[in-house]
């Protein structure tokens, strides 16, 4: 009797759960699952003129995986995204740490730190173009100081410019999750660490860092995933040497007009990002757990 009541309750709970999820499921279905399905279907076709040939083929995938130039682009996207992620997190962590542990007016500091992000992403990218450009702020500054005789041409239109620009563009997305995870740490845990013999540095490595790992992982994913798929920044400040996989995908859809190839590139890129992100999360968690 009881047993059956329990089962009935469970059924009701499950139904309630789905009812609560329904709006989200509809949105996700329409905006995420359906387009992904279309992308998958497209990638299994091949282009003929402005339409697709009849029948299914894996030709796009063998093209994507076989061509060396694509592999270079994939590799560059991953390396640039990894560098951007590492740089952003490394710069954001001390700022978040300062606000969480030492700032008096935390809210004010958070506002100040995020003000740059109230402007458009494109404006920020253009700002970096002006800073790094041939006649830009850095070059004219160095020239004015007499430190260089000629403007440096190497600042813009390369992967370095992409890394710097994106690291700045994403800063707020890294500061906030790290700040939240640091803020949540019970201060008496830190006192306990000192009490049990740790210096400030050891205490940071053994308590603060592992406990803020969720924030670091969140920030890293938040940055790594969109960076691998970014095509605006490489387009504007990367030049040919800074092109990334998303630039080629964009070209396939808008200029070359080979949608199936574009779709296959996009799906391979997504899979790669998902696998790498998963590996990263597992590695970061394991590292945090290894701390004793």
């Amino acid at each position: 009797m009881r047993e059956r009541g329990g089962v009935a309750d469970k059924g009701r709970n499950v139904r309630q759960g789905y009812a609560l999820l329904a709006p989200t499921l509809v949105v996700v279905g329409l905006t995420l699952a359906a387009p992904l399905g279309l992308l998958l279907i497209t990638s299994l076709k091949s282009q003929s003129g402005i339409g697709f040939e009849a029948g299914w083929t894996l030709a796009q995938y063998s093209e994507v995986l076989g061509r060396g130039s694509y592999r270079i682009l994939f590799a560059r996207s991953v390396v640039v995204a990894a560098l951007v992620t590492a740089l952003t997190v490394a710069l954001a962590y001390p700022m978040a740490y300062f606000v969480a542990f030492h700032a008096r007016r935390k809210f004010l500091w958070l506002i100040l730190l995020t003000i740059p992000f109230w402007t458009s992403y494109l404006l920020r990218v253009f700002a970096w173009k002006i800073i790094l450009g041939y006649g830009g702020v850095i070059n004219s500054g160095l020239l004015g100081l007499g430190l260089i005789a000629e403007p440096l041409g190497s600042l813009l239109y390369n992967p370095f410019a992409v890394v710097v620009t994106l690291a700045h563009a994403w800063a707020a997305f890294a500061i906030l999750p790290i700040y939240v995870s640091l803020e949540k740490i019970d201060r008496s845990l830190l006192e306990a660490g000192s009490d049990l013999g740790d210096s400030k540095l050891r205490r940071f490595l053994r308590i603060t860092l592992p406990l803020s790992m969720p924030g670091v992982i969140g920030a890293a994913i938040l940055i790594f995933v969109p960076t691998t798929g970014d095509f605006v920044t490489p387009e504007l400040v990367g030049g040919p040497a800074g092109a990334m996989i998303a630039n080629i995908i964009e070209t396939q859809f808008t200029q070359v007009g080979n949608w199936p190839l574009g779709a296959a590139l996009a799906l391979v890129s997504m899979t790669m990002v998902a696998v790498l992100a998963g590996l990263f999360v597992a590695a970061a968690r394991a590292a945090a757990r290894a701390v004793r």
Binding site: E191, S194, D195, L196, G197, R206, I207, V291, R292
Partner: protein, 350 residues
């Protein structure tokens, strides 16, 4: 000099003196309690001993070494935090081993020490348990084990039993005392629970408003409080205003109003009281006697507590009812007597 000595230590937060010229001395191996109402500065004093707060004035020494300027990680103290501060990312074993990792122990030795400590606090076999899967009592034991395993010279406990329910708290009190006897480490416990302080400690310091009022054994605190505040804080007590008439070698005669002229043994009278002083006579409820002749009154409220009852007696000419504990007589009216040897005289001021 005593093992742990606190001399003339003061601390102010934004102008308010939270700890005010405190002197304490604690002998090695003692179970010492700091007892006082909430906000009286107990935790602040304890945190200064641990090194988390810096005294504005005064010196703290442990085993002859001055602690001023020594950071918490280098002090021979360990603390059991009120919130327990169990590391949430470590299991029970690693929580307890936390403070041993740097000490250059071999992993076998470390394991042996932690296992022994797990046994001491009766958590055998729970080493692999995650920190968030512990009950309140278990968390308390982990916090205790983690501090004890470092074999500190002084163990500091900030209301360690405050978060536990009454039954568990009483069980843990007994256990805490047994563990202290076993390890022989000096314990300094902070509490606002007078029963806890009295039942656990060798000596108790009663604190109020940042000052130490009295330091004594539990028995002495109960029988011979040195001022009204201590008398009031440690259990229930009745007060009568009185004036000192005569002081002799062995006794002090006072005019106790309703109580009449009473001669108290000199030992029941606080130091420094002279003829003509205004004093308070104090007597515990269980010392008030019920006699055929005496001060008569009526029972206002009674609580039956098994063998004995607790009742309040209204007496004509006195607004405050008198608390009495004993065998309640049948009927409403009762007459009370106040044995002089049980009365104590305290200064009326302060």
């Amino acid at each position: 000099m005593s093992f742990l000595s606190v001399s003339q230590v003061s601390k102010a937060f934004g102008g308010a003196r939270v700890v005010d010229a405190v002197d304490l001395s604690v002998e090695r191996g003692m179970f010492f309690s700091l007892l006082g109402p909430s906000g009286c500065g107990k935790s602040t004093l304890l945190r200064m001993i641990a090194g988390f707060e810096t005294p504005d004035h005064g010196i703290i020494t442990i085993d002859g070494v001055a602690m001023n300027g020594v950071p918490p990680n280098l002090r021979p103290t360990n603390m059991v935090f009120q919130s327990y501060a169990i590391f949430p990312h470590l299991n029970v074993f690693d929580n307890i081993a936390y403070g041993l990792r740097k000490s250059g122990l071999s992993s076998d030795e470390l394991r042996r020490k932690v296992e022994a400590m797990l046994a001491t606090v009766r958590l055998e076999g729970l080493g692999a348990r995650a920190a968030d899967q512990l009950s309140g009592g278990q968390r308390q034991r982990v916090a205790l084990a983690r501090a004890l395993v470092r074999e500190p010279k002084v163990l500091l406990l900030d209301e360690p039993l405050g978060a536990l329910d009454k039954r568990l708290r009483e069980a843990m009190q007994i256990e805490l005392r047994a563990i202290q006897r076993k390890v022989g480490i000096t314990f300094v416990l902070v509490t606002h629970d007078q029963e806890e302080a009295l039942s656990l400690s060798d000596r108790v310091a009663v604190m109020s408003g940042g000052r130490i009022l009295q330091v004594a054994s539990p028995r002495e605190l109960y029988d011979r409080p040195n001022c009204r505040e201590v008398a009031d804080f440690i259990g229930e007590i009745n007060f009568f205003h009185a004036t000192v008439k005569e002081v002799t070698e062995s006794s002090v005669t006072v005019n106790g109003g309703l109580l009449g002229i009473v001669a108290l043994p000199k030992t029941n009278v606080a130091n420094g009281i002279t003829a003509g002083d205004h004093v308070l006579l104090a007597i515990r409820p269980e010392h008030v006697g019920i006699a055929p002749q005496g001060l008569s009154g009526t029972i206002a409220a009674a609580t039956f507590l098994g063998e004995r009852s607790h009742f309040h007696v209204k007496i004509p000419g006195r607004t405050e009812p008198i608390a009495v504990s004993g065998q309640a007589p049948a009927g409403e009216s009762v007459s009370l007597e106040f044995p002089p040897e049980k009365l104590i005289a305290l200064p009326a001021t302060g």
